[in-house]
């Protein structure tokens, strides 16, 4: 049931992106409503700054508008593409900060906020779908061993290099690489029913 819903959602996303590629602003509005919250949350988590997160999300959606025609469903989901754009831009911003000698530690997340209360009370069908999916992903991530979870967390959200992650976790680089590999493979396996193979 969940798998079907998820595949339907991904197909809907791809179709919306196709319409966006043809200049359909209404489709773009729908795509915004489906993606904006997780993209904003990701940018805010990485940057630890809501204003900068809004700038990143704005820029990402402009890229989606302008590059929609370049999206290929065969290479992944539209959501995955949007998240990658958001993450990369957020990390670029973090590295700009680092060049300005700002403290990276302030922007590295302490945890993924699994236990935090939800503050959003929007109740659109898009949001419900996202929430259902989020519950599944959170459960999958929570089931990972703690050391794999923390390694993945830093790898995805911190913008740190491999070596910096190893230093942060006070573990040998080889150990950290292995933890990332095992964690990510487990996550893929756990979410595989949700993800298109």
């Amino acid at each position: 049931m969940g798998e079907t819903t998820d595949q339907t959602r991904q197909t809907d996303d791809a179709r919306l992106l196709q319409r966006v590629a043809s200049g359909d602003q209404a489709a773009f509005g729908q795509l915004y409503d489906r993606f904006s919250r997780p993209l904003y949350a990701t940018a805010a988590r990485i940057l630890n700054d809501n204003r900068e997160a809004e700038d990143i999300v704005h820029d990402v959606f402009i890229v989606l508008w302008e590059k929609a025609s370049e999206f290929h469903e065969s290479k992944g989901s539209a959501f995955g593409w949007a998240v990658t754009l958001t993450r990369n831009r957020s990390i670029d911003r973090i590295r700009q900060r680092r060049r300005r000698q700002e403290l990276l530690t302030e922007s590295a997340p302490g945890d993924l906020g699994y236990n935090a209360d939800h503050t959003d009370d929007r109740n659109s069908s898009d949001d419900l779908q996202i929430k259902e999916k989020a519950v599944t992903v959170r459960e999958a991530v929570s089931s990972l061993p703690a050391e794999q979870k923390s390694a993945l967390e830093l790898a995805f959200f911190s913008g740190l290099t491999q070596q910096e992650i190893a230093e942060r976790l006070q573990q040998p680089l080889g150990t950290v690489k292995a933890r990332i590999r095992r964690g990510l493979f487990k996550l893929r396996d756990l979410l595989s029913p949700q993800l298109r193979s």
Binding site: F61, G80, L112, Q162
Partner: protein, 307 residues
């Protein structure tokens, strides 16, 4: 078959954790291996789902308006942002349809204008804030540089003062050494001044060796002297000649040390240093003593004495 090394690289690549030559090499491997490409895509897709684990406030409606306005500008169409609530509503005909459309159009244009103004203002504000931050950082850098220069100046001043003190000490030492050197030079000059030397000729007291003679040269400053003897009789193997210095401050002659002579010619030369400080020499005397010399004068026969 994908080995563990490639799996690890695929994981790191999916999270953008490899760079440079390693990244380029791996991308070549991906390009040549469809299975590896598929794995990377799957891992990237899985990692993207982490975005759903983060809790954060919903982005503001202003952001939506700003994004939609930017897209409308790019599309070259003056269309308003598409409100969420309107996308699924069905508009029914009514007698006031035109009036409603007109109001909606006015509202939409106003909303678009407001959105654009907001976007422009926000961008200007962001640019201003960025400039302010950069200027603040530049000011801080200048402050840091000034502080560093101030500290360097303080340190250099301290070093200069210390160097000055060292130069003063060196000057003082140099002056002291100059005085000492001058004193030592004067002393040395005095030591070598022949006018201070006492030269005394010793004559024989022996009837069988009337030609025996000696010359003693005494330097009172160094308390040293040289004795040269000639034609002294040969000694037995258990005998030595001994020199005595007569100084009125002592009741007995002062021991000047023993010396030997060539048994064939009676010639000898010795440097002597009396065992006690000598203030004034009135006479020198040479006696023949047992081997090693006597502790006090009077034991042996007197051979020579100052004239």
């Amino acid at each position: 078959m994908i080995d563990e090394r490639l799996e690890e690289l695929a994981s790191l690549y999916a999270l953008d954790l490899i760079e440079g030559a390693e990244r380029s090499a791996f991308e070549r491997e991906i390009a040549a291996d469809a299975e590896l490409r598929k794995l990377v895509d799957a891992l990237r897709e899985a990692s993207a789902q982490l975005a759903l684990t983060v809790n954060a406030p919903t982005p503001s409606i202003e952001l939506r308006n700003r994004v939609m306005a930017s897209v409308a500008n790019r599309a070259g169409r003056a269309q308003p942002p598409v409100p969420v609530a309107l996308t699924s509503n069905v508009v029914r005909p009514s007698p006031l349809l035109w009036l409603g459309w007109a109001a909606a159009a006015v509202f939409a244009i106003a909303a678009l204008w407001a959105g654009q103004r907001y976007s422009v203002n926000r961008n200007e504000l962001a640019a201003t804030q960025t400039m302010a931050e950069m200027e603040k950082a530049a000011a801080q850098t200048i402050r840091n540089q000034l502080e560093a220069e101030r500290l360097i100046a303080i340190r250099q001043t301290d070093e200069f003062k210390r160097a000055q003190a060292e130069v003063g000490t060196l000057k003082q030492n140099l002056a002291t050494e100059r005085i000492q050197t001058a004193r030592q030079l004067a002393e040395l000059q005095g030591k070598n001044d022949l006018a201070n030397f006492k030269i005394s000729r010793l004559a024989s007291l022996l009837g069988n060796s009337p030609d025996a003679t000696a010359i003693a040269i005494w330097n009172p400053l160094t308390q040293e002297g040289v004795l040269t003897v000639d034609k002294l009789p040969a000694l037995a193997s258990n005998q030595d000649y001994q020199l005595w210095v007569i100084d009125p401050q002592y009741p007995a002659p002062v021991d000047g040390g023993v010396f030997a002579v060539d048994s064939a010619t009676g010639v000898g030369r010795a440097t002597f240093r009396p065992r006690q400080p000598v203030a004034q020499v009135t006479k020198f005397a040479v006696t023949r003593e047992r081997k090693g010399g006597a502790a006090a004068a009077g034991e042996g026969q007197m051979i020579l004495i100052s004239q």
